[in-house]
Subunit: 97 residues, 2 copies
Amino acid sequence: MSRVFKALADPTRRRVLEILRKGPKTAGELSAEFEVSKPTMSAHFSTLLEANLVDATKSGRTITYRLKMSVLEDALLGFAQVFGMELKTDSETSDTA
Amino acid sequence: MSRVFKALADPTRRRVLEILRKGPKTAGELSAEFEVSKPTMSAHFSTLLEANLVDATKSGRTITYRLKMSVLEDALLGFAQVFGMELKTDSETSDTA
DNA sequence: ACAACAGTTAGATGATTAGCTAAATATCAA
DNA sequence: TTGATATTTAGCTAATCATCTAACTGTTGT
């Protein structure tokens, strides 16, 4: 859980997750949205992978990253609950179907 | 907001907030709950103050720290909403009155 | 005034972090 | 095989971070 919060501490990584929210993207596509070098982005991806916030699948010469929404939810939910907040996930909200 | 996430990245600081959830405590009382030196704790308090997650009031020679619950809520809420989650605060949940 | 106490500031250290360039790995296409 | 492409690994640097001890500031009690 500490790994998740460490991962969320960096604005670039938070924005990566945000972009991934709309759907999977390759390392290259993600990198294109930031003004840092690819190796730097690669390091961010590693951090997100270690926090288990994304997963990666290699296909040919591209690697596709996907947000692991449930892990993010669980982390936020767990933390929020300690402080007496309640988290509702998207699926519980309104537009389930 | 980045300051809030940076503040939350450290486990000691998260536990300080958690302790403060039950009520205000002095710097000394808080320090007593951790195995690090007082100057180290003092630095953690500074970080939490800069993130606006706590406030401090001096009275005599003690400083009392208080959790600023609404700031924590707003940060978590803001972030969660970006990911399509909904946060309900304690006051909205059941025991409002 | 003086000693004890609560807390911080100063200054140092070792570890981690975010960033870079250059080089390596692996795939695809000719 | 050669060249281009996608991404990572290696190795470096500068900055930030968590921690420490020692010293300082301000308050209280005698």
